[in-house]
C-alpha cells in the first residue's frame, strides 16, 4: 500500500521454485527492514475472514496467495 497509489505489486513468484523463493525472501526482508508491517489475508472454511501478521518469511503459509505490506501503525 502506498499513498497516492494504492496497491503496488512488489514481487511475485512461485515459492516451490528455489530461485523465485530466494527473490521473494529477499524482497520480504527488504520491506520489513524498511519498517513496513506484513500481513496475509486468510479465508476460513466457514467463510470468516481475517489477517495474519507475519514477521518472518517462514510464518507465511505455503498456500498463501499474497502478502500485503503496509506502513506500521503509530499513535494518532
Amino acid at each position: 500500500m502506498k499513498p497516492g497509489h494504492g496497491e503496488v505489486l512488489i514481487a511475485e513468484g512461485d515459492v516451490e521454485l528455489p530461485q523465485d523463493e530466494r527473490r521473494l525472501v529477499a524482497e520480504f526482508r527488504r520491506q520489513l527492514d524498511a519498517g513496513l508491517w506484513a500481513a496475509v489475508p486468510l479465508e476460513h472454511t466457514d467463510g470468516r475472514r481475517e489477517a495474519m501478521m507475519v514477521r518472518s518469511f517462514t510464518d507465511i503459509p505455503r498456500e498463501a496467495e499474497r502478502v500485503i505490506f503496509f506502513p506500521r501503525a503509530a499513535g494518532g
Binding site: 502506498k2 499513498p3 494504492g6 489475508p41 475472514r49 506502513p71 501503525a73
Partner: protein
C-alpha cells in the same frame, strides 16, 4: 553645481532604497523561480481517485462480500473483538473502523461506547508528497492489524474517552444504521433461501 546634484541624487537614491530594495529582491526571486527546474511531482488531480479505486478493490478482496457491502453502504466496517465473554457466550466488544478516523470500541450488547483508539499508518517516504494512505487502504490496514494482532495495534494506539474526535451521537446513529442494515440483509438472505427452496416468504 554638478557636485551638488550628484550628492542630492545619492541621498534620494539612499532614501528610495528602503522602498525599492524589497521589490527588486522579490522580482529577482520570481525571475529565478520561473527559470528553476521544478523537481516536485506534477499535480495529478486524478491520482488520488485512481489510488482510492485500486485500494477499494484490494479491500474488497480481503474483507469479503459482507464487510465490503457494509463499508460501501455505511462507510465503516465492524470488527468483532477477539476476547469473548464465556458467561454470556457472546462477544464483549467490537470495533468500528472508519477511514482516517479513530477506531471506535463499543459494547455490542448495549451499544455503550468504550473508547477511541487513535492510530495512523504514515508512510514516511512520502511518495507523491503525502504520507496518507487512500481511505480504503487505511481501513484495510486497520482491519488487518486488528484481526491479525489486536493487542499489538491497541498497544500502539493512543486511547481516548469516547467522543473526543468522533462525535458520540454520530457513532450512536451509525450503530443504529448498522442494526437496520443487518436486519435488512437477514431479510434478503431469508427471502433468497425461501425462493430457492420453493417456499413462499412470510
Amino acid at each position: 553645481m554638478v557636485f551638488a546634484l550628484l550628492i542630492s541624487a545619492l541621498v534620494a537614491l539612499a532614501l528610495l532604497s528602503d522602498i525599492l530594495a524589497p521589490r527588486v529582491s522579490e522580482q529577482w526571486a520570481r525571475h529565478r523561480a520561473r527559470r528553476r527546474i521544478v523537481s516536485e511531482p506534477m499535480l495529478d488531480p486524478g491520482r488520488e481517485r485512481r489510488a482510492e479505486q485500486t485500494a477499494r478493490e484490494l479491500l474488497r478482496s480481503c474483507v469479503g462480500e459482507e464487510d465490503w457491502a457494509m463499508y460501501r453502504e455505511l462507510g465503516f466496517i465492524r470488527v468483532w473483538g477477539s476476547q469473548s465473554n464465556v458467561r454470556s457466550g457472546g462477544v464483549e466488544y467490537a470495533y468500528l473502523i472508519y477511514p482516517h478516523r479513530p477506531i471506535i470500541a463499543y459494547a455490542p450488547q448495549t451499544g455503550r461506547l468504550i473508547g477511541e483508539y487513535c492510530v495512523e499508518f504514515p508512510d514516511d517516504t512520502r511518495p507523491y508528497g503525502s504520507s496518507r494512505l487512500p481511505d480504503s487502504d487505511d481501513v484495510l490496514a486497520k482491519w488487518m492489524a486488528l484481526t491479525g494482532d489486536e493487542r499489538r495495534l491497541l498497544a500502539t494506539a493512543n486511547m481516548h474517552m469516547p467522543g473526543r474526535q468522533v462525535d458520540a451521537s454520530q457513532v450512536a446513529r451509525d450503530l443504529w444504521r448498522l442494526s437496520r442494515w443487518e436486519q435488512a440483509r437477514m431479510r434478503e438472505i431469508a427471502a433468497t433461501l425461501d425462493a430457492t427452496s420453493g417456499q413462499p416468504g412470510s
